[in-house]
Amino acid sequence: MSSTLIQRRPAKATVKNRVFIALVVISNTLGTVLLGRGMTQMPDFAAGALTYIVRFLINPWIVPGIALLVVWMVAQLSMLTWADLSYVLPVTASYYILTAIVSRFFLDERISLTRWIGIAVISFGVMLVSHTPPRTHELPEGLLE
């Protein structure tokens, strides 16, 4: 597509970019952990829809968990206003690394050698992508509102 403009001077990884990577990773990890913990305390859905909904809404883990996942979604969408999808997805996959650290050191779970190797492989992939410029293209003029 000839109308696609290549940005000659790629945007540098700014402080804002780093803050948002941290925000996306932390809100996703914490949100998932809280939601997962809350869901284990839920009654069987067959026990009755009303009971289920009430228990869902008053559970001290589920509502904050969902709130954090909303923060995660808005933060990730915000990043996409200045960074490529092929940058945001791998870089924010450091979520898998943080989850492993949390489960090892705070939940005292054992982590197998295969998992440690997987974590190392993910970390290496994240490192490679984070050294590329966040934005490599400009939208064709006609697409900007």
């Binding site: 915000s78 490529d84 997805l89 993910i122 490192m127 490679l128």
Partner: protein, 120 residues
Amino acid sequence: MKWLWVAVTVISGTIGDVLCARGMAMHGELDDFRPKGIARILRYIVTHKIVLAGIAGDAISFFSFLALLSVTELNFAVPATALSYVFKTALARWYLREHVSWGRWAGALLVAFGIVLVSL
């Protein structure tokens, strides 16, 4: 049945993320983080048709992943859907016209492979 849920999870998640990226890129770089600016970006997200279609795709992906978990274990579901990282990178290249350098390709492949290892 489980492969059907894998396919729905991967395809709807890929389309969802790509549409979100396209819709949000149309906004232009977000720089205003005062309450007014945050309110404005929230309004953009909930009213922009392409972004909404993207969120719908991601929601379908999320629920079909839950359906997948109801018929298999995590150690099947997670590696089976890790392939979506590769599809998303491919569509970012061909549809969104991002310049995916070898470093990004290698990174995306390593992340997908690492997720398979972590979940085994």
